[in-house]
């Protein structure tokens, strides 16, 4: 990012939430880069920006769509051979789409294939022209979530049709041009409340700083993901960056700034219901996943890097079930549980509340504060038979039964709450070893300095102990329950005073090893689908060298790519798709932006980074028609995880809510959708309408204000690691809401006053921070006030405050199943909550 010429921070408050990451933005700025912050609030990030664009929360996609439209209409973009070469060689702009496809512009706000009764899409009509059968991976039925996973199109032998002139009305470029034609500066003014001249200033800055020798980077965080259209917002930015040639090049990209130490790692090696390690889809009983063969046939794309999926799956089964997994029994695939519905976070809350889920492990998460509709989340916890909380402080999720607002008020009495609660104190880094994967896929190891105090133990210890005890309890059980556990390899040697499992053994298992001799495999390419290798997470393969050195512990940095510091998956690459940093013939686009290039003399790719491309594949390689896997990717196609090797401007499969990004209003909004008045909300958004999770109608006069929730530098997520720490607690000691002087004046609210904010889910009180950093916006001729509220606070710890998530509702993006907390509507009044805990009157 320090190499960027322009940095657009949107959907993120980077200076506040990633202060050390912001060093690189400051470095770019010192070198003259333009810094742009697009955000409803003027924050500490805006303070260091050159341009601040205040927009209405929930309107980001209009702004991005208008940038797309501005770019494709721009004269310079149309004639600059850099953009045109990048577009034609590296994206699917020229690919033709089936003639059955209909755009939202044709159908009043929905794409072809929409089923209004089931609120989902059949994506068959979105596929490439000439492609046989349904799009693989989705199969005309919602299957796996698209979180982080690249799905594939094209059956073996299919050659998608192209029009290199980009004039065919069914080619991707023409489709997207038409789709975004109404995303004008005037629409930006109408939907976002941003004046056209300000929009144009941003658009020109981005265009000016995207070229053969210049790059623009976008940085986003959860203010893009936490919408019902979150995946599409990010997709729209990726689309824009592909048009501008800013992907795969130094100083470019779409950077996700993630908020937890290993939130990247916990999706790579997931604790997510729908994924197995390495973004392998979790077997699903409603799919053609009945046997291992079915699953592999269904999920293995014929072309691209993911063609190696069977080796990954079989090696994973070997890692899990060891000697019990044989070719004859399908490597115990039958023992791997199958999902059949949505068991993501919000669905789980409802399963608990409704009594289907009876036991819960809560390890380092605080749903009583951090869960959306936290009132409902606490009711869910109170309806469990048992709950195990592992944390360092007595967080709200452990203390809810005696200390929650509803208990303090007397609405709920502890003697009516059946939940058996175990609080087990956890060890922290420094008291245990292990690795984190940072936001750039860099795996780093933290070593152990001391033993943890008292009963504090690592999660690894807890799991090791629990697994051993359960194996004993199920000894002799020959049913599937017993076999599942008996087959599981679970004999980690223990070490040290606390008898933690030896993590070197776990890392070796994650890396993969040869079954015969237990030696670590050298990388992904060494994995086999015949049971001769075992591997816990294929994309991490290579993290341990064959002599057992853990590269997450490598600590040799330098001022370039620092390939000797940690291990970046896959194969230690720092920039993904970095083949795109060279032109189609393999030469660097420019000296200034040199990163990876083709060394014709030696016949290999080389550069500052590990090339994300087959090392010896010549830029002029053209695949034979029957090629499979990586051999099917042409030498000028950098996006090797996609079946066609191209960056997708149009998502022919893999998304549940449309192949092109489209603006829809949040589930709760004060204004209509100016594009599609008949289709205000995302037609595929996942909602949970029920009495304990009621939504506000569009424009409900009782809830006129837009609420957005966010974090502060001084605290961390739901507060378990910050509100109890005195040095952090004193810096932001109490919950507050931020509102503009204009809105404060309307309610007679003075700075520091108590105010009550409420929704149909709940009401909270907080102190008012009246500041011109928030401002009313004029949206579609209407004044829209926005209120901001940090969501860190709760009833425990030193720094306390009303729980912002008592206000939010369960509602999700259909792709990622991430909730909507960045834009909903609320009521505001001066004064504290009344005794009944009622917010609005």
């Amino acid at each position: 990012m320090a190499d960027s010429d322009c940095v657009v921070i949107m959907g993120s408050n980077m200076a506040e939430n990633h202060p050390v990451g912001f060093r690189f933005v400051m470095k770019a700025k010192e070198r003259g880069a333009t810094i742009i912050h697009v955000d409803p609030r003027f924050s500490r990030t805006s303070a260091l920006a050159d341009i601040h664009v205040p927009l209405r929360a929930g309107s980001d996609l209009v702004f991005l769509g208008a940038l797309v439209n501005h770019v494709v209409l721009s004269e310079r973009w149309g004639r600059d051979e850099f953009f045109q070469a990048y577009l034609r060689h590296y994206t699917n702009a020229a690919t033709l789409v089936t003639s059955e496809y209909r755009d939202t512009e044709d159908l009043g706000g929905v794409f072809s294939g929409y089923d209004p009764d089931r609120r989902w899409y059949d994506p068959t009509s979105w596929r490439y022209a000439g492609q046989r059968g349904p799009s693989a991976g989705t199969g005309g039925h919602p299957s796996q979530d698209a979180m982080g996973r690249t799905e594939h199109v094209g059956q073996q032998g299919d050659i998608p049709h192209h029009d290199e002139t980009l004039r065919d009305p069914t080619c991707v470029f023409q489709l997207l041009k038409r789709h975004f034609a109404r995303y004008t500066p005037e629409l930006v003014e109408d939907a976002c409340g941003v004046p056209p001249e300000l929009f144009l200033r941003v658009a020109e800055a981005i265009l000016r700083n995207s070229a053969r020798d210049r790059t623009t980077a976008f940085a986003y965080a959860v203010a893009w993901t936490q919408h019902t259209t979150g995946t599409q917002i990010i997709g729209c930015c990726a689309l824009l960056q592909l048009l501008l040639g800013n992907i795969g090049r130094p100083g470019g990209g779409v950077l996700a700034l993630r908020g937890h130490a290993t939130i990247q790692g916990s999706t790579d090696i997931p604790t997510l219901y729908n994924l197995l390690p390495g973004y392998l889809p979790m077997p699903n009983a409603t799919q053609r996943h009945g046997t291992l063969r079915d699953y592999l046939e269904q999920e293995t794309p014929p072309k691209g890097a993911l063609h190696a999926l069977p080796s990954a799956v079989v090696s994973l089964l070997k890692a899990y079930y060891g000697d019990a997994a044989t070719p004859e029994n399908g490597f115990c695939y039958d023992l791997l549980p199958k999902i059949g519905a949505d068991y993501s976070f919000q669905a789980m809350l409802l399963m608990m509340k409704d009594g289907a889920m009876k036991g819960l492990f809560c390890m380092g998460q605080n749903p009583a504060v951090g869960g959306q509709n936290a009132v409902l989340a606490r009711q869910a916890l109170a309806n469990l038979d048992w709950l195990v909380v592992r944390d360092v402080h007595e967080i709200e999720s452990a203390a809810f039964w005696y200390d929650a607002p509803e208990v303090r008020r007397g609405d709920v009495r502890p003697e009516r709450i059946k939940t058996e609660v175990f609080f087990l104190p956890a060890a922290l880094p420094g008291e245990k070893e292990g690795s984190f994967t940072n936001t750039q896929r860099l795996v780093q190891y933290h070593d152990k300095a001391i033993d943890p105090p008292g009963d504090c133990r690592s999660e690894a210890w807890f799991l090791d102990q629990l697994g051993t005890r359960l194996k004993r309890l199920y000894a002799g059980d020959t049913g599937p329950r017993g076999r599942q556990l008996a087959a599981l390899t679970w004999d980690y040697p223990s070490q040290g005073a606390t008898e933690d499992p030896d993590l070197d053994v776990v890392v070796r298992e994650i890396n993969g090893y040869t079954v015969a001799d237990g030696r670590p495999v050298p990388g992904i390419h060494a994995l086999a689908d015949d049971g001769s290798t075992a591997c816990g997470c294929w994309i991490y393969s290579g993290i341990m060298t064959e002599d057992g050195t853990n590269l997450a512990r490598a600590r040799r940095g330098d001022d370039r790519a620092s390939l000797g510091w940690g291990f970046a998956w896959p194969a230690n690459r720092r920039i993904l798709y970095n083949r795109a940093s060279a032109d189609p013939s393999g030469r660097p686009w420019s000296e200034r932006k040199r990163w990876v290039w083709w060394d014709a003399e030696r016949g290999e790719w080389t550069g500052h980074d590990v090339p994300d491309f087959p090392r010896d594949k010549s830029p002029d390689y053209q695949p034979p028609p029957d090629a499979t896997g990586l051999d099917a990717i042409a030498g000028d196609s950098p996006f090797i995880n996609m079946a066609d090797g191209k960056g997708w401007l149009f998502a022919a499969s893999g998304l549940r809510d449309g192949p092109l990004p489209t603006h829809y209003e949040p589930i709760e909004t004060p204004v209509a959708n100016p594009l599609y008045p008949e289709q205000p909300h995302s037609p595929a958004a996942i909602t949970f309408p029920r009495p304990d999770n009621r939504y506000h109608e569009m424009g409900d006069p009782r809830f006129p204000y837009v609420m957005t929730t966010y974090r502060l530098t001084e605290h961390h997520t739901a507060g378990g690691m910050s509100r109890w720490v005195p040095w952090l607690a004193e810096l932001q000691p109490q919950g507050f809401v931020e509102l503009s002087p204009e809105l404060a004046a309307e309610h007679g609210i003075a700075n520091g006053d108590w105010v009550t904010v409420s929704t149909l889910r709940g009401g909270v009180e907080a102190r008012a921070l009246v500041t011109p950093r928030l401002r009313p916006l004029s949206v579609g001729g209407k004044t829209v006030h926005q209120i901001g509220m940090p969501w860190h606070f709760g009833f425990g710890g030193i720094a306390q405050g009303g729980i912002a998530n008592d206000l939010s509702a369960l509602a999700e993006d259909p792709n990622s199943r991430i909730h909507q907390a960045k834009a909903f509507t609320c009521a505001l009044r001066k004064g504290r909550l009344d005794e009944e805990g009622r917010g609005h009157r």
Binding site: A15, E16, P19, V20, F22, R23, M26, K29, F42, R44, T45, S46, A47, L48, A49, D50, I51, H52, V53, P54, L198, R201, L712, T713, E714, P726, W727, L728, A729, E730, L731, Q732, P733, Q734, F736, P741, E742, N751, G752, R767, A768, L769, V770, T771, P772, R773, R775, I798
Partner: protein
């Protein structure tokens, strides 16, 4: 140089009375993101307890001021809207609409606190920094009014005066002070004054070139130059008048206005001597 940059540079601009070999801080507010890492790193290293100020409503500032247990303090000045409530979207290149400044003890070249201290607790160290020796301080509090910046304060716990030591213990082991080390954007820089002061003046020139007309160094000889402070060993690059950050525009040593402490002590001592002499004579 005056705060608004309109006056001609004074002859003292960019110079300091610091001794050769003196170390200190350059706090460049144009790089500050208001994260408060300096406050925490300081408390962590020096083992200082949390203040219990509570929610102030004063922007994001909930520690309010330097004190006995807060030796780095980040001030927040909101200027996002003008008096009519109009907010700019095009911003000056560095920090204009929300000023943040990490304040600290200035380690004055001529330190009022040191001069006022009657017990010899306050010393000028081998690094040319000003340190209150806790095993000598008796909590008389004379240093408190003597500081033109209001830095030293008495602790309610041990009733002694406390302030930034510029991490004297770390300097003894060649470690940079905790705040400067932690600062993610290098807004706080530690080093030899002889290197930091030219860096500050170069920075001001570069900022002015980039359109930050109001940038200036606060803490060279021009500050308090006529009043004998002769420069601060912790100085700042600011972009608004000092008062905006709650800093005195023309800090004065109280000793300049009243009888210097040394003199009053000397006079008192002389009086005692005379009295003693008189008494001795009287015995004869």
């Amino acid at each position: 140089m005056s705060a608004d940059g309109s006056a001609a540079p004074s002859h003292a601009a960019g110079t300091t009375g610091a001794r050769p070999g003196a170390v200190g801080f350059l706090t460049d507010t144009t790089l500050c993101i208001g994260c408060k890492a300096c406050e925490v790193a300081c408390k962590q290293w020096n083992g200082l307890p949390m203040d219990d100020v509570g929610f102030t409503g004063f922007s994001y500032d909930n520690t309010v001021d330097l004190g006995a247990t807060t030796w780095r303090h980040v001030a927040f000045v909101e200027r996002a809207g003008d008096e009519a409530g109009v907010r700019a979207t095009a911003l000056a290149p560095f920090q204009s609409a929300w000023l943040m400044m990490s304040d600290v003890c200035k380690h004055c070249v001529h330190a009022g606190c040191l001069e006022a201290c009657p017990t010899g607790a306050i010393i000028r160290t081998e690094f040319d920094t000003v340190v209150i020796q806790q095993d000598v301080c008796n909590g008389c509090g004379y240093c408190i009014p003597a500081c033109p910046f209001g830095v030293p304060q008495l602790s309610a716990t041990d009733r002694k005066a406390h302030k930034c030591t510029l991490c004297y213990d770390r300097l003894r082991d060649d470690l940079e002070p905790a705040c400067a080390k932690a600062c993610p954007t290098d807004s706080i820089q530690f080093g030899l004054i002889a290197e930091l002061m030219p860096r500050a003046t170069e920075r001001v020139a570069a900022l002015r070139e980039r359109g930050v007309d109001g940038a200036y160094v606060y803490g060279d000889r021009a500050v308090g130059g006529t009043h004998g402070i002769d420069g601060l060993n912790a100085f700042f690059v600011l972009t608004a008048p000092p008062e905006t950050y709650n800093l005195p525009a023309a800090p004065e040593l109280p000793q300049d206005k009243t009888l210097p402490a040394f003199l009053s002590t000397a006079v008192a001592a002389l009086g005692l001597c005379l009295a003693a002499v008189a008494a001795l004579r009287g015995r004869r």
